[in-house]
Structure formats: C-alpha cells, structure tokens
Symmetry: C2
Subunit: 207 residues, 2 copies
DNA sequence: CTTTACATACATGCGTGTATGTATGTAAGA
DNA sequence: TCTTACATACATACACGCATGTATGTAAAG
C-alpha cells in the first residue's frame, strides 16, 4: 500500500527518521545499512533516496530534529538572565540534563552522537562541524562567567576561558556517561546537585 | 625484503599497531580498511592476518598497549593514599590528564576511543566491556569518597555513588573535549586548577 | 497528462576472509 | 659442519557477500 499525498509523504519521512534513530542505535551509523532502516520503516530504499540525498543527509536530518528544541531552550534561557549569570549557567545546564533525561528521542540521538558514530572528516557527522558548535556553546558560557567575575560573584583570579571549557566538559561528560547506562540513576533528580557541585567550587567563598 | 627473525616480527607487529593508530585516527575504525593499515606499515594484509585474528583483535591489541601504562599509574596512586582520600582523587585525576596531555600515543588512542569508533554490541570496542571498565573506575572513586566522608572531609549529606559518577564524568569529559582540539590550551598546565574546581565544590566549608 | 512518491532491478566496487605460495630462519641429525 | 626438515613470517590470489547509487517501472494525486 503506497502513500501518495503530501501529508502521507511527510509521515513516511518521519518514520524513516524514527527508524534511523533506532537502527543507528543498535548497529552504529557505519554498520547500519539503508536497506535495514527502510525495512524498519516499512518501506524500501527507494523511499530513502527520494527523501534524502544519501546516508549523510539522513543523519543530518535526524540531528536537526532534536537540535531545534535544544537550541530553542538555550535561547529562551539566555535571553534575559545576564543580570544573574551564575543562575543562568545553573538553569541552562539543568534544563539540558533534564531534557536528555526525560525525552527518549533526545536521549537516543545523544547516544548516537556520543557513542555510535565516528567524527572524522567527510563523515556523516563532521568533526569540524561539531567543533564549531562546541565553540559557540563555550563562548556563551564564557560570557556568563566573565560577567559573574565582573560582579564579584567568583574570584577575580579565575580564567573565564578555561573555566567555560571545564563547565562545558562537565555537562558533556555527565550526559555522555549517563546515556551509556540511563538506568543507573535518575538524571533529572540528581542534576541540580551535580551542577551545584561544580558551581560551588567556582563560587567565591564567604568570609 | 621480508623479515623472518622473531625480533623483526615484533618490529612488524609494532609498526602495524602504529599504522593502525594513525589510519584509525584519520578514517575512523569502521572506514579504515586493513589494506590501508598494512600499506601504511609497509606490508600487506597477510602480515595483519598473521599477527592478529581480525580487525577487532587488532583494535584490542592497540588498546592494550596504552591501557597498561594507565592502569599502572592508577594502581601506583591507589596503593597507599587511602589515609588522604581527597588527595588521592586529586593526584590520580591530574596524573591521567597529564599523561594524555604529554604522551602523543595515549592522546591518539583516546581520540580514537572517544570520537573515532562506535560502541555497539559485537563491535571492535564492546559497549559492555567499556561499561565494566567504567564501573570499576567509579567504584574505586566511590571508596575514596566514602572514606573522605567518614573522616569528615566532605559533608555527610552527599551521595558517594552519585558524586563518584560526577567525578568520573568530569574527568572523562575533560579528556574527551580536550583531545578534540589539543591546541586549544595546555591540559597539563590547567589540570590542577580544573580538578580543584570540582574538588572545592565537594569539600566541606570551613566555619 | 504530468508529477509525485515511492518500489524494483541492476551494475559496480570494496572489504573481508581464506587458501595457497614462498623465501628465510632454525634446530636436529649424521 | 653440512644437510635435511620443518616452522616462521609474510605475500599473493581468489571467492564471496554486501552496501551503495542509479536507472527504470508504476500507481495514484493533482
């Protein structure tokens, strides 16, 4: 039974992306064949080549689907909270961790990006592209830290660039480690405590 | 000109592992062909199949070469320092970061494990295997934290298991992020400061 | 009647594993 | 000490499957 309307085509496309997430998660991006993804979506490879240029294009589309909600959340947080930079850092970090913890799709895609694909040149997920995204994120963190330092919330001796890198690495590490074994503990419950652990080390001590 | 003595065979094996590191780093484990690795080592695929069972065996041998020095270092630190658990955590973390920062081979292999291979079942680097190694490491950290709590060095309210996970995730994240762009800053120089950042957040506040 | 949204069929290449060839090292026996 | 016999350390050649990309077919929508 073939689908011919535009709406049905969108459904097929969506099912292909769902199937891609699942198959990539099982086999890894490199080993997953387009035939298997198509089969999991109930179609043939013809459908994939109709909707996407090739495997890399399929991967990119899969990433875009979850990138948008995350970017939206980060933008929402960064909008007005520069008067309280430390709380901005705290809230944005907790939000991202909670999103990964609660949304199965985001969790799956993170797992694929962190553990089921290879970041090499001319690959499905480019290393340069990943580096650039990271750079932007760290830059945003650095701004908040510099602001906090100007406000005397953290010691004047700290290096904003290094600290921003460490902050990013911490969050990235938490997500990466957690998705490897989501059943270990509730990330949403523990997120505030774990974030505060690093934040308290950063904060200026009261006298 | 072929090599026939046992010593020369060891040299060939070593060159194959060197070549594997380089080619895996360039192309990723999945895309790297055995023919290319053999060619980079100046031999043919026959040599690989003589020294190793298959691609997975080659990868494992490559990992063992750097795993041993790291394990040795961790063991060395964990031997006697349980009377000062917080310093043990600090020293072991700084040691690992310094090793990655200074040893190009360790750095390359870490980069391969973190960014150039896929952690799926029946893969070159097994997910279960990785999980188990992580579990052991976290367990060792947890012991130190529990000891520190008993000694009143850290608040009694903290959860050792969660904290150990966070500590591991932080170090893992720092390494993972840094190897993606080693030129960004000197990891060896900044390691103590970054480790202390989380350690200070963990430590009990003086009154 | 044309375009869409796929399914089907085909050609191609590439990587793996294995089987076999081969030159050298090495140890034992005379 | 010299030869024989076998093992070592690869190189070469072959067969096979599998994934990709593309070309073509086709039924329904507009």
């Amino acid at each position: 039974m073939v689908r011919r309307t535009k709406e049905n085509a969108e459904v097929t496309r969506s099912q292909l992306l769902d199937a891609a997430e699942i198959v990539f998660n099982e086999k890894g991006v490199a080993r997953a064949s387009l035939a298997e993804i198509a089969s999991a979506a109930g179609v043939t490879r013809g459908a994939i080549y109709w909707h996407f240029k090739d495997k890399a294009d399929l991967v990119h589309a899969m990433l875009e689907r979850v990138k948008l909600p995350i970017d939206e959340m980060v933008d929402k947080l960064s909008a007005n909270q520069l008067d309280d930079p430390l709380n901005y850092l705290r809230n944005s970090a907790i939000s991202v961790l909670s999103l990964v913890a609660q949304d199965a799709q985001t969790c799956r895609v993170f797992d694929i990006v962190k553990h089921k694909c290879e970041l090499v040149a001319d690959m499905e997920i480019g290393r340069e592209h990943e580096l650039q995204r990271r750079s932007e994120c760290i830059c945003s963190i650095e701004t908040a830290i510099t602001t906090a330092r100007e406000q005397g919330l953290i010691p004047a001796t700290i290096n904003p660039q290094i600290t921003a890198f460490a902050w990013y690495a911490y969050i990235s590490g938490l997500i990466t480690c957690w998705v490897l074994n989501p059943g270990l503990f509730s990330l949403a419950d523990e997120a505030p405590g774990m974030i505060d652990m690093l934040l308290n080390g950063l904060r200026k001590r009261e006298e």
